[in-house]
Structure formats: structure tokens, C-alpha cells
């Protein structure tokens, strides 16, 4: 590319007034309503938005790959000077994969399960480069190496199910790159991946983009990913782009009220223990978009004009434009949460919950007679204590056994060994009936608000179920009044009791799930990733609710999560799990501010921060989490640890106590290593 090339010459993609609608019965529901943006070679435009805002539909619309019900209702898509929307289908196929390639969110389902990696790569090479046979094979190997897959020869003949999640996404990227596209559309490329793998993939994408001077359209909901990847950012809300700015400007001087709210809703250290900003209300449904500004109903600055007239684009600085009637925001700093950190009194003498050497092993059966040949050590000796009114965060990547710990505590899964004591009483040996009084002391909130409520029961029935099963006497006020009271506690109206789960949004459903748990007045609530399926603004509402409930009712939370921002915001203590064991635990400050275990450090460094200045140096973890069926000898972490020594390879480290609350299992800190 010559130096004299102007921006316009390097412009790859120009989208103007793009409108996309979905057929529903006899009507068309607009999902994308007049979107304009450009992507130039070598730059990354991040399309940021919450679920349902139309960002994925936009991406699919560019490639004309909308699902059967989708229609491009109007607008222009110009790619390298060609109008894609009027291109014949045969020519469009040349653009797909050749000019513009796309990678998708779910690597597990986006690859064809019955074709080899080599086949799926070769298809693109044959289609766009006319390669076949040996040259195609060599090019495939090159591509696999380029995306960081070791042992490429072997992988070429393997099927997707033989690859780990991160590797599948690497193959997906290789497939996308195979046709030498000038523009890469990445639709939530790391959302389904663990944070350490996410960091690897994001690094890979950055590096490939720089090498190939590709343009990239990155679709994401994660401000952290945006901070790491984007050149420019466009924020989408309800089918429209509401603000667009270069990255630096975006993170320092975003002006649209919605963008501001997105930042404010993110939990982080500054607001620990305080309340998070939330966006009241919900995105208006597709069928009944308001005539004025689409955000007006949820905007605290909205005035009469906002509701009447839709704002037009306004240029406020170079490359920074927004759709808002507001000239300047009132001082945003004033509304920041008051960090009224309510420190709960130190724990009482006896902990509420104490778990000792808990093990959950699942047998692996093989062979003709299905004999047990080994065990998946999902939980392998976990001990922890939790006091009334405190929150313990159990952190780890997928497959580390954190959810199993929660279910074993609730006796939903039988423990193989170890003890679980609630209020000093052992749960393991109790029969069903004797367990009942203890059951009401602890409850669980699940991850997926859509799978955790029975669609065929009314909200009242759902909430009342526990009261009935645990024979909780409600004579004083009656069941209906009790249900109404609980609904009120979680911020829902009493009338909700007569409605059914499908009438509620994700956040509201999670409130119902919380109400169900609260209905039996538990002391301990096990929260299994309660916000990971929710949008940031809704997550903030739920986190606030949980904090209020803890303050009011003195609940103890065992908070199972992979999200460090949430941990930071709400936990008192943190335990980090790796392959069925707790590798480091301590108070939230100790673990998050001065992590000691190499795994904890790597994990923390991989979390993309939503701020430009705060990103610590990324500690790259090689490989992926091994299978708990066959953990490495010695310290489970040693194959991925840069500081591993011989001792690490031989035996599992004992617990080293660093302070009254802080302990770690690593040979770096053990007594004999120090000697």
C-alpha cells in the first residue's frame, strides 16, 4: 500500500442506511433500522451492543446469510466498490469467504462434526484459490500453523470433536482466513470461551490482522474485548447505531447516555460494595419501537423533544458522532455510586457452612462389561468455610468443578468422600426426611434463567413450591401473602404471581428464581453464575439486588463464577479452583490485588479490562485445561506453568499459609522450596 493512499482508497466496506427485518406471521419486524458505518483495511470496528440490539443480524445481512425469516429491507452495502445487495447470488458466493469471511460465536457447533479439519479447510481453498491435492494440503498446514495449532499434520486428519474448544475456534479462524479475505467479521468470537483461551484468541486475531492488513468488524457485548481490539467503536441500541468514536475517545469521552450507562453498570473495584448504576426498564420490543429517540424511555436526561423526535447524527469531534439531542451531559461523576461499603461484622464463632475434603468422583466405564476403569475427579478434596452474611466467590474456568461443588453442598449430587456441615450438622449421612429442616437453610440460584423456571407453572406456583415441599407454616399470613412479600423483596409486583415465566425477560426471570430461593428463608444461597447469561445492565440490577438482600437478611452467598469483575464487586473472600482443587484462597484484596499462585496471576492478567490504562501485562498460558479424568501428575498446573520445577512435576503441593486468611497451594511458597 503506497503512502499516498487516502483513507477512501483503503475503505473496504461502506454500509449505508442498512435495514433488516424479520418476517413474523403477516408482519415485518424491523431488527436493524438504518445502520451506517465504514471499515477500512487494517482497522477494527467494534460493533458493541447488548443482546437483541441487531448486531449479529447486521453481520449476517452484510454477507446475505440471514436466516429464512430475515429480509434486507433497504440500504446499501458497498464492499470494495461493489454493491453487495444487488450482486447476483453466484457472484456473492465469491465474496463470501473470498472477500469477506466470518467467524462465529460457537466453535463447537459451527464446524461440521463429520468432516475432518483438512476437508473443511480444503473446501475454501478449492473454492476461492482453486487449490487441491498437495498444494492445498501444504497451504492448509501453513494456515493451521498460522493460527497457532501445534502438530498441524495430525490435526488435519482429525474431526472437530477431537479438538478442544479453543482449538476449534482456531480452526474456525483458519477456515475464515483460507480464502485470503480482506475483511473479517468476527461475531462474538470469544464469548463461548474461557478467559485464558479468550486472551489467546484475541491475541491471535490482533496478530493476524496486523500481518494481513485485514479490516475487521468485531461484534461483541464486552467492553473489555473492545478495549483490547478496537480501532473504532460503534454502539448499537435497538437496531440503530447511537454513537461512534475512535477507541481513545470512546473510553475517555463517550457521550451518549446509553454508552455512559454501559460503563457505569460494569462492576469494578471503585464501586466495591456500593450500588451499581443500572438502566431502568427494558429495550422496547421490535414490534413497538417508539417514534422518538429509542433510548428515551430509559434515559434519565430525556425530555419532551427526545420522545417526539428521533435524533439525527451529530458530529462532536473528529470521528466522534452520536445520536442524541443532548448537547453536553450533566456532570456524570456525581451520579457514581456512593461506595458505602457495608462491612459486615466479623464471622461468628461457628461458620454457617463448612466443607471438608469434599470429593466428587464420577466413574468412567469402558470395555465390554462396562467396568469402571477410572474416575473423573470433578471435585478432589475441596475444603471451605463460610460465615453468615459473607460472600465467598468460587472462581475458575469451565470444567474446574466449581458447579459440582455447589451441587454437592446442596446434596443434589452425592459426594464420594468428605463432609459438608451446615450449622455444625453433617449433611452427608442424613436421610431425606431428616434433611428437610436443613434444606430450607440453603438454596441455589442457577445460571440460565430460561432453564431454571418450569414454563408450565405460574410464578406463584414456582415460588410456592418450596414452601409446600418444606412444610413451611404460613398460617399467620397465608401462602399468597407470603409469595407477594417475596416478590416485593426482589422488586416484582405481586400480580406477577399469576403470570407465567415466558412473559418475563431474562433479568426478571432471574429475580423470580431469586424469589423462589428466598421464599423458604434460607441462610445460605449458592449462586451458580447467576449473571453470566445476562446483559451488563441487567447484571448490574441483579448484583445490586443480591447485595441488598445480603445486607437486609444477612444471607451468606457461595458465589460460583468465572467473572472477576463480579467477584471484585461483591465477594468478601475468594477461592480459585483448578482441576477440582482450590489452589489459592484469601480475602478478595489478597487474592485479586496480590495473587500468589501462578494460575491466579495468569487468570487475572487474561481478564480484559474495560479501561485503556488498566490492562496488566498478559501472562500467556500455554495449552488448555487438562481433563479431570486424567490430571497431570504432581501439581496439576505444572504443564502450563512457567515457574514449574521438578518438585512440581512430582507431587501436589501442600497448603502454604501466607496470612491468617490467605493460603496457596504452590511449591513456590512451600516450606521445603524456601529452604
Amino acid at each position: 500500500m503506497s503512502d499516498g493512499a487516502t483513507l477512501n482508497e483503503r475503505l473496504l466496506l461502506e454500509v449505508a442506511r442498512l435495514r433488516i427485518a424479520f418476517v413474523s406471521g403477516r408482519s415485518l419486524l424491523p431488527a436493524v433500522d438504518g445502520v451506517d458505518f465504514q471499515v477500512a483495511a487494517g482497522e477494527t470496528l467494534a460493533l458493541l451492543g447488548e443482546s437483541g440490539c441487531g448486531k449479529s443480524a447486521t453481520a449476517l445481512g452484510l454477507l446475505r446469510l440471514l436466516p429464512a425469516a430475515g429480509r434486507v429491507a433497504g440500504g446499501e452495502v458497498c464492499f470494495e466498490g461493489r454493491d453487495l445487495l444487488s450482486l447476483p447470488e453466484a457472484e456473492m458466493r465469491g465474496v463470501r469467504g473470498g472477500g469477506m469471511a466470518m467467524i462465529f460465536q460457537e466453535p463447537a457447533t459451527s464446524l461440521n462434526p463429520v468432516l475432518t479439519v483438512g476437508h473443511q479447510l480444503g473446501e475454501v481453498l478449492a473454492r476461492h484459490l482453486g487449490l487441491s491435492g498437495q498444494p492445498a494440503r501444504e497451504r492448509s498446514l501453513e494456515l493451521l500453523r498460522a493460527v497457532g495449532i501445534a502438530d498441524a499434520e495430525r490435526r488435519l486428519g482429525e474431526y472437530p470433536f477431537q479438538l478442544s474448544g479453543g482449538m476449534k475456534q482456531r480452526v474456525m479462524i483458519a477456515v475464515a482466513l483460507a480464502g485470503n479475505p480482506r475483511l473479517l467479521i468476527a461475531d462474538e468470537p470469544t464469548t463461548a470461551l474461557d478467559v485464558t483461551i479468550q486472551a489467546q484468541i484475541l491475541e491471535l486475531l490482533r496478530q493476524l490482522q496486523a500481518e494481513r492488513a485485514m479490516g475487521m468488524l468485531l461484534i461483541t457485548h464486552d467492553l473489555g474485548v473492545v478495549a483490547q481490539m478496537a480501532t473504532r467503536v460503534a454502539v448499537m441500541y435497538a437496531g440503530q447505531i447511537v454513537e461512534e468514536a475512535p477507541r481513545a475517545v470512546f473510553f475517555s469521552a463517550a457521550r451518549h447516555p446509553y454508552t455512559q450507562k454501559l460503563f457505569a453498570a460494569l462492576p469494578d473495584l471503585a464501586r466495591r460494595g456500593g450500588r451499581l448504576e443500572t438502566i431502568p426498564g427494558q429495550v422496547p420490543p421490535l414490534a413497538e419501537m417508539p417514534g422518538g429517540c429509542r433510548f428515551a424511555s430509559r434515559c434519565e436526561y430525556a425530555w419532551e423533544r427526545c420522545r417526539r423526535q428521533a435524533p439525527e447524527w451529530r458530529q462532536v469531534a473528529v470521528g466522534h458522532r452520536l445520536r442524541c439531542h443532548l448537547d453536553a451531559l450533566p456532570d456524570a461523576g456525581a451520579s457514581a455510586g456512593v461506595a458505602a461499603a457495608v462491612e459486615v461484622e466479623e464471622a461468628a464463632a461457628t461458620p454457617l457452612l463448612s466443607v471438608d475434603a469434599l470429593r466428587v468422583h464420577f466413574p468412567i466405564r469402558r470395555g465390554i462389561l462396562q467396568r469402571t476403569v477410572g474416575h473423573v475427579r470433578a471435585v478432589d478434596g475441596v475444603s471451605l468455610e463460610l460465615a453468615r452474611g459473607r460472600t465467598l466467590a468460587l472462581v475458575g474456568e469451565s470444567g474446574c468443578g466449581k458447579t459440582t461443588v455447589g451441587k454437592a453442598i446442596l446434596q443434589l449430587i452425592a459426594a464420594s468422600a468428605g463432609s459438608v456441615r451446615l450449622l455444625g450438622q453433617e449433611l452427608g449421612g442424613l436421610a431425606g426426611k431428616a434433611r428437610r429442616p436443613l434444606r430450607r437453610r440453603m438454596q441455589m440460584i442457577f445460571q440460565d434463567p430460561f432453564a431454571s423456571l418450569n414454563p408450565r407453572m405460574s410464578v406463584g406456583e414456582i415460588i410456592g413450591e418450596g414452601m409446600g415441599a418444606l412444610r413451611i407454616d404460613m398460617q399467620r399470613q397465608g401462602r399468597a401473602a407470603a409469595i407477594a412479600a417475596v416478590l416485593d423483596q426482589v422488586g416484582l409486583e405481586a400480580a406477577a404471581a399469576h403470570r407465567y415465566p415466558h412473559e418475563f425477560s431474562g433479568g426478571q426471570r432471574q429475580r423470580i428464581a431469586i424469589a423462589r430461593a428466598l421464599a423458604v428463608q434460607p441462610d445460605l444461597v449458592i449462586c451458580d453464575e447467576p449473571t453470566s447469561a445476562l446483559d451488563v445492565s441487567v447484571q448490574a440490577q441483579i448484583l445490586n439486588l443480591l447485595a441488598t438482600l445480603q445486607a437486609d437478611l444477612g444471607l451468606a452467598y457461595l458465589f460460583i463464577t468465572h467473572n472477576f469483575a463480579v467477584v471484585d464487586h461483591l465477594a468478601h473472600e475468594v477461592a480459585v479452583m483448578y482441576l477440582g482443587r482450590i489452589v489459592e484462597r484469601g480475602s478478595v484484596d489478597e487474592v485479586l490485588r496480590s495473587p500468589q499462585h501462578p494460575y491466579t496471576r495468569a487468570l487475572l492478567s487474561a481478564v480484559p479490562s474495560a479501561r485503556l490504562d488498566a490492562q496488566p501485562e498478559f501472562i500467556r498460558l500455554p495449552g488448555e485445561t487438562p481433563s479431570p479424568a486424567n490430571p497431570p501428575t504432581g501439581c496439576h498446573f505444572h504443564p502450563r506453568c512457567r515457574q514449574a520445577t521438578d518438585a512440581c512435576r512430582e507431587r501436589y503441593p501442600a497448603t502454604s499459609v501466607l496470612s491468617a486468611t490467605h493460603s496457596v497451594r504452590c511449591h513456590l511458597y512451600s516450606q521445603d522450596a524456601a529452604r
Partner: protein, 490 residues
């Protein structure tokens, strides 16, 4: 009393099913998820049109499921007097005698069709028999003369008298009258529908009319009306002509084919519906048990259904039916009337069909239960210590019902088709029971006759096709509305 009610087992079951369907429908309308699913069915035009047609079939079947034995009329006055003072009949007079023959309400309505039997084959709408016979007659001179000719039918077109040439005109006239009546009836029906809709949606009559036909109502009234129109257009002319002619001809023993076809409907319905009374409890109970409790219960149930399903269906049915025949033949004392025997044989066939066909649904329900029991709302219930039976009743069963409903409607048509094949093979219903299968079985050699006798087969074909097609279309509509994968994407 002029009749003695006879309650056959299949009558009981079919009315029970009718009531159960009503209760279930009422219950399911109270739950909004079910209601929206049924509303989706209601919006499906093909579904509602076929439901209308099916309703007519069901009506015929229900009329045919009210049985009685008529009182034998020993002397003319006897019947009248006992009617007047029913209480005394037992005291003074000899006990009333009732016919051995069991009739149904439908038989009573169709008395002209049932009783006016010819000697043998006659073509549809014919006035004379299909084959020549030697006829003895006396000529003018009083000589006995033997001629070979097509003999005049005893009943078909008898009202014409000697004017056989006027048959076509007569038929045409009756058809026209029937047509006019059908159109009139249809207009009345359509107007009533529009009036009801106008009342319900509080709009003008004209507006309601427009909504019905421009497909803007929430219920596919246009399809219902169109189907009702078609039914009227077929039923009224048939009824008009059937009084004086054999519309579909007569069979080998001179029985009216239209009568046979109408009687076949009940047999088909019993086979298609009562069988599910056997399959549903078995497959729901065992499927849920296996999926929910897993472990050895699951192993045992899986073994059971794999073993059963590994015996090819027809062969298992054949073996079972053979054994049932032996059983029935060896115990004639069990049955008071031939109708009872045929009825029990029909039910036994349903039972055998049910026992051999529950495995598929059971496997499906087991798989779905396995999936459901891992869902978080079930775990939440378990965390409350809710009893297993309660979890099954409140959480699992309601979420399986859509599969059951889909299976129910899908199985109906295949069972009706199976009955025909089994009866043909000789392992179906009792040979004395009129069904599509026995009709086809009796008629299959008739195509080979010269000249060919085609009308029994054609009539059976048309009615069976209409019934099965309607059932299939309704099944499609129900599946589309209830299957969460399909309903979700639409």
C-alpha cells in the same frame, strides 16, 4: 321400554375418551402455554378444515356407539300398552323379549339403508341388478315364460314404478334440490358464524364477514366454513338419493355399500383411539420411570421395550391375534350376542396393537425425561426436597405432554391404515364386523370379475382416504403448533 340398552365395552371406552378429551381440552385451555399452542392449531387453515371433516366422522362414530336391542313385536297392541304403563310390564305380563340383534342409534337413523337389501350386486344408483338372471313371468296369455334379463331391484329406485327411463331426470331433480338445500344451509351457517364473530369482537357484521374471508381472524373460520360447505355438498345429495337408491350400489349379498362405509367409520375410530388408551399409560409410565430413576429401573425397562420391539410388529400381532382367536373360540359362553363377541375381539385387537406399539413413544419419552431431569428447575425442586412423584407430576409430565399429543394424533392415521391391512391378512377385526379392512377384503376379488365390480372398493377408498388425510393434516397442524422446535422458529 321399546328397547333394551346394550352397553358394549367399546362404547364405554369411546365415550370415556370423548369425555376425557373434553376435560383435557378444558384443563389445557387454562394454561397460557397450552392455550397459545391450541390457538396456533386454530389458526392453521388445513388443520381446521380437516378438524371439521374429522368432526363429522367422529359424530358418525359416536352415533354408532349407542347400542340397544329393539323389542320384539309379538303382537301389535302389546308394545303400545307396555309403553303406556311401563311399571306393570314386569308384574303381569311375560317378560319382554328383545331381539338378538344389537343395533345402534346410527342403525336406527339408517334403517332404510340397513334393511333394504337386494339379492346381490347392483351398480350405484341402479334400478336393476348387475348380472342377468332367469326371470319367470307370466305373459299376457298366462304362460309361464323364462327370460334372461337384468332383474329389477327390490328397493333401488322402486318409487319410479315402471318409469325406469325417468331415473336420470329423477336423480337430477333430487340433486338440484339437495344442492339448493346445501347452499342454503351453508349460508345460514356462515351467517351465524359471522354474527357470532361480530358479537365477540364487537364489530359490524360486514366487518366480521370481511375478517373471516381475508384471513384476519384469530381462528381459521374460513377453512372451517369451506370444509363445512364441502361436507354439506357431499352429505346432502347422498342423503337425498340414499332414500330411494343405493348410492354406492350393493355388495355381493345385496347390502348397501353406503351403509357399510358409514359403519366402518366407528371401527376405524375405535382402532385409532382406543388403542392409545393402552399405549399411553404404558409408554408414559414406563418411559418417565426409566428416564427419571435411571439405574436398574432404566435397564429393565429398556430391555423390555427392546425385546418387544425386536419382534416384527405384524408377526407379533399375527401370533397374538391367532392366540386370541383360539381363546375366543374355546370360550363361546363368555359372549351373550355375536355383537358382543365381535366387540370384544375388536377391543382385543386394540389391546394387542397397543401392547405391540407402545415402545416407540416410550423410548421417546424416556429420552426426553433424561433431558428434562437435568434441567435446572428440576434441580431447584430437588433442592427443596420435593418428593420424586411430585416432581414427575408437576415438572416432568406437563413438559412431556406436547410429545404425547403429537404422538397421539400421528398414530391415529397409521392405526386406521393398519386395521385395513390386518383385516385383509385375516388377523384384524371379526369378519362379521364391518370395517374398511373387511370391505376391501371382500371386494378385492371383485375387480377380477367380468364385468368388474368396482364400487365397494371405490367407496371404501374414498371414505378411508378422506378420514386418513384429514387425520394426517390435523396431525401436521398439531405437531407444528406443539413442537417447540418448529413452533419456536415460526
Amino acid at each position: 321400554m321399546a328397547f333394551l340398552p346394550v352397553i358394549l365395552w367399546s362404547d364405554v371406552l369411546i365415550w370415556l375418551l370423548f369425555v376425557a378429551a373434553g376435560v383435557f381440552g378444558w384443563l389445557s385451555l387454562r394454561n397460557p402455554l397450552w392455550r397459545t399452542a391450541w390457538q396456533r392449531v386454530g389458526r392453521s387453515r388445513s388443520g381446521m378444515a380437516s378438524a371439521t371433516v374429522l368432526l363429522v366422522f367422529v359424530l358418525v362414530g359416536l352415533l354408532d356407539s349407542l347400542h340397544y336391542r329393539p323389542r320384539l313385536e309379538n303382537d301389535a297392541g302389546h308394545l303400545a300398552s307396555s309403553d303406556a304403563v311401563p311399571g306393570e310390564s314386569a308384574a303381569g305380563k311375560p317378560p319382554a323379549a328383545y331381539a338378538v340383534e344389537v343395533l345402534s342409534l346410527l342403525d336406527a337413523i339408517l334403517t332404510p339403508l340397513r334393511t333394504r337389501n337386494e339379492k346381490t350386486y347392483s351398480e350405484p344408483l341402479a334400478t336393476r341388478a348387475y348380472a342377468k338372471e332367469s326371470i319367470e313371468s307370466r305373459d299376457a296369455a298366462g304362460e309361464l315364460q323364462k327370460t334372461r334379463d337384468y332383474p329389477r331391484l327390490k328397493h333401488g329406485g322402486i318409487h319410479l314404478g315402471a318409469d325406469e327411463a325417468g331415473r336420470d331426470a329423477d336423480i337430477g331433480q333430487r340433486l338440484l334440490r339437495a344442492l339448493a338445500l346445501a347452499i342454503l344451509a351453508w349460508w345460514a351457517l356462515a351467517a351465524a358464524t359471522a354474527a357470532r364473530l361480530a358479537h365477540r369482537e364487537a364489530c359490524a357484521h360486514r366487518e366480521a364477514w370481511r375478517r373471516i374471508w381475508s384471513n384476519e381472524s384469530d381462528f381459521a373460520w374460513n377453512a372451517v366454513l369451506a370444509a363445512a360447505g364441502a361436507v354439506l355438498l357431499v352429505a346432502l345429495p347422498l342423503g337425498m338419493l340414499a332414500v330411494h337408491y343405493h348410492v354406492f350400489g350393493t355388495d355381493k349379498v345385496g347390502q348397501d355399500v353406503l351403509y357399510q362405509v358409514l359403519k366402518s367409520v366407528r371401527t376405524a375410530l375405535v382402532i385409532g383411539l382406543v388403542t392409545t388408551l393402552v399405549t399411553l399409560p404404558l409408554s408414559i409410565f414406563l418411559g418417565v420411570l426409566a428416564g427419571y430413576f435411571r439405574g436398574w429401573v432404566d435397564d429393565l425397562i429398556q430391555y423390555l421395550y427392546t425385546t418387544l420391539s425386536s419382534i416384527p410388529g405384524v408377526l407379533l400381532i399375527a401370533a397374538a391375534v391367532l392366540m386370541m382367536q383360539v381363546l375366543i373360540d374355546n370360550h363361546p359362553q363368555w359372549f351373550a350376542t355375536a355383537a358382543e363377541r365381535a366387540d370384544l375381539r375388536l377391543l382385543a385387537l386394540c389391546f394387542i396393537l397397543g401392547v405391540t406399539s407402545w415402545t416407540g413413544l416410550c423410548r421417546l419419552l424416556r429420552g426426553e425425561t433424561l433431558k428434562l431431569r437435568e434441567l435446572e428447575y428440576i434441580q431447584a425442586a430437588q433442592a427443596f426436597g420435593v418428593a420424586d412423584l411430585r416432581i414427575i407430576g408437576r415438572h416432568i409430565l406437563p413438559n412431556l405432554m406436547h410429545i404425547v399429543i403429537i404422538a397421539l394424533v400421528m398414530d391415529f392415521s397409521s392405526l386406521v391404515l393398519a386395521e385395513a391391512v390386518l383385516s385383509y391378512v385375516g388377523i384384524g377385526v371379526d369378519p362379521t364386523m364391518i370395517s374398511f379392512g373387511t370391505m376391501i377384503n371382500n371386494a378385492r376379488m371383485e375387480l377380477a370379475r367380468e364385468p368388474m365390480v368396482w364400487w365397494s372398493l371405490a367407496a371404501a377408498f374414498v371414505f378411508m382416504f378422506a378420514l386418513v388425510l384429514a387425520a394426517n393434516l390435523l396431525a401436521d397442524a398439531v405437531r407444528d403448533a406443539f413442537d417447540p422446535r418448529i413452533a419456536g422458529s415460526a
